[in-house]
Point group: C2
Chain length 214, copies 2
Amino acid sequence: MSRVRVHNLLVSSDGFAAGHHVTMETPFGGAEALVRFFDGRVIHGIGGFAGPVTADHAFFSMWGQGIGAEIMGRRKYGPQYGEWTDDGWMGWWGDAPPFETPVFVLTHHPHETIEFANGTTFRFIEADPAEALRQAREAANGQDVRIGGGPSTVNAFLRAGLVDFLHVVVVPIVLGSGVRIWDDLGGLEQRYAVESVTTASGLTHQLWNRVDRA
Amino acid sequence: MSRVRVHNLLVSSDGFAAGHHVTMETPFGGAEALVRFFDGRVIHGIGGFAGPVTADHAFFSMWGQGIGAEIMGRRKYGPQYGEWTDDGWMGWWGDAPPFETPVFVLTHHPHETIEFANGTTFRFIEADPAEALRQAREAANGQDVRIGGGPSTVNAFLRAGLVDFLHVVVVPIVLGSGVRIWDDLGGLEQRYAVESVTTASGLTHQLWNRVDRA
């Protein structure tokens, strides 16, 4: 059975997982301080880069393993609001987005599918979490589905009870404002077994595995 | 520059990384108690198996990332001693050994190369660590080389100063006897930066990154 997984969800000590104001200059909405603790070079594995291999890398590198599709919110895909314009926007990631699978972008506004040579396709759908997951599962062809963020999207899937595995990275900083990840999720831990590991960098990696699943 | 890496090297509290007596029935030489702490299902990643994803899995799953060739000792390959006989032995791993790269087996006795459909080839060479590494690097085509064990082989490469990254898993058991990993390596830590992380299972993962390397 394919799992629904969340990876590398960076959360500040005060519970924020992104900033409020996503613009062309601030893809993380003003929460860039969070992202400094992340090493995007290892999401496909620890090969091919110079420098030490850290425990954080071990956790970060699980991101792509066995993933067949991603679901992301519109705010992760780009800074635009409302109807799509003909601005040529194809996401933040250039000609080779790192996903390399079908990616379902949740939006209320229709948009043509965008395909890349490396296997990434952006498909734009209006759907609630259950229906988005149904479509992503079909595309994933037996592999797992990643809920890619942003935090509002992860929160919606958690509230819908659809997340089997959640990798939270608690970052020891205080952001003060932003998008909260834990809203309306009181008691969530009762449905998960949680393992916590703290690394030399000061990050705490929490692995939440759902216990009420067959 | 391609790195030389060791992964998932399980070591008991008393410094043993395998048993002495490798036989057909005891591939780990009597140190099977060590191996019980290892989950081989995740060496190619956390996809495709049921059950919780643990912090140990995050570390174990780095094994294959960016690896282009392995070097192993004869004792890892099989229980035989002396001249090879015509017994049809092709390693412990059946028709699809998990390596999926060229594997250089160190032996004093000549043996024909064995090829598998999944990309694994066993090539049998008589060479010191530096020469074995030269050949493995060439085969790895720019990717990293893994020193796959057993402990005598890892020890030889450590003594030769050839290991860039070493992932030790300290297992909280006392074996009492076996093959020691740390012999003749006094002060080794001075050439490495070491990060240690202990997980809920009681394992301590140590990541040794060489600091005297460009």
